[in-house]
Subunit: 196 residues, 2 copies
């Protein structure tokens, strides 16, 4: 197997990468500055040596604690539960959230063998028990798996009577067009309509 | 800059990779088996140590000559001129071509400063002079740049009177639908219609 074939085989395992796009990318890399390839290759191969999950929230970090848990200015009484570490980025960048995060590491999906035991749900309960939270925002994806996980968390946290549980609103995206919105989204935005 | 930010910055330089997809890919890689990342990283960083252009045709190879030039069973009297090395793969895989290749390394594009001198056109003329070719198929892309390059090659090779010059047919893709084909393609397939 040549070096190109080998690279194409590896690239094809990346998400959204088929035979054609992997081949195209491999040929692009051959024609690229070799210093760039050295930097990129090094960066990929040493990634996990540098980065590990934060022991508290599960976000990725290079330090002992992640930047969110380590930030004194964040509101320690509000917790946002997400499926994946990268979801914290999107939420932090939206600019309207200044609390802490909790990464589950996925969503309940019995078909793929992901039960509640595979997720960081025990850690979530422990954080609520030992912390001083007033609100938990469940920010799992608006999918069947995310909704199931949200329901599971509602049950899991129901013993904490003073805790407010909320969920991100679903509906028509800003700038969206009713004619192009899928019917499930439209149904949900109708069911969860808000009073003006 | 953290290791993730650094990786995202590098990934963003790849073709078709924006901020979002680079971030998504970086997080995918963090969650991947570290042995895979080591293999991929190594493969990328050492790519150019192993691969170099074939001195005859310009395809990429690990050996002295490329597999096409080295193949005794290929027809040495027909030459297919392409823009990029990866184009040879697509043509070879179509299964209807068994001649040799010549890689130009791009197409004439004065706006981007790519003149005839930047392409392997001198090498093309030399191959025709010293070889025993009866036909040259110009397989540059059906774009403005590819068409300009094809015209330039036609002039370049006009002194060779016994040489047949051809060009890949352009038109409606197989399985295509007239209603969805762009008007330039349709115009071209009309202009270059063939007799039944």
């Amino acid at each position: 197997m040549t070096a190109i074939d080998e690279l194409v085989k590896l690239l094809k395992k990346l998400p959204g990468m088929g035979e054609k796009s992997a081949t195209r990318l491999a040929y692009h890399l051959i024609a690229t500055d070799s210093n760039f390839n050295k930097a990129l290759g090094e960066s990929i191969s040493k990634l996990q040596e540098k980065i590990h999950p934060c022991p508290i929230c599960g976000c990725y970090t290079e330090g002992e604690k992640c930047p969110y848990c380590d930030d004194e200015n964040r509101d320690k009484t509000i917790l946002c539960v997400v499926e994946q570490a990268q979801d914290t980025l999107s939420i932090a960048q939206s600019g309207v959230y200044n609390g802490l995060f909790h990464v589950l590491g996925g969503a309940i999906n019995p078909i793929n063998g992901i039960g509640p035991g595979s997720l960081r749900l025990k850690e979530l309960k422990e954080r609520i028990e030992n912390g001083n939270f007033r609100e938990v925002i469940i920010a799992t994806n608006p999918t069947e798996e995310g909704d199931t996980t949200a329901l599971f968390i509602r049950q899991l946290l129901s013993p904490f009577e003073n805790l407010t549980l909320t969920r991100l609103a679903s509906g028509i995206p800003i700038g969206g067009d009713l004619g192009y919105v899928d019917k499930l989204t439209l149904a949900r935005s109708m069911r969860e309509r808000i009073k003006l």
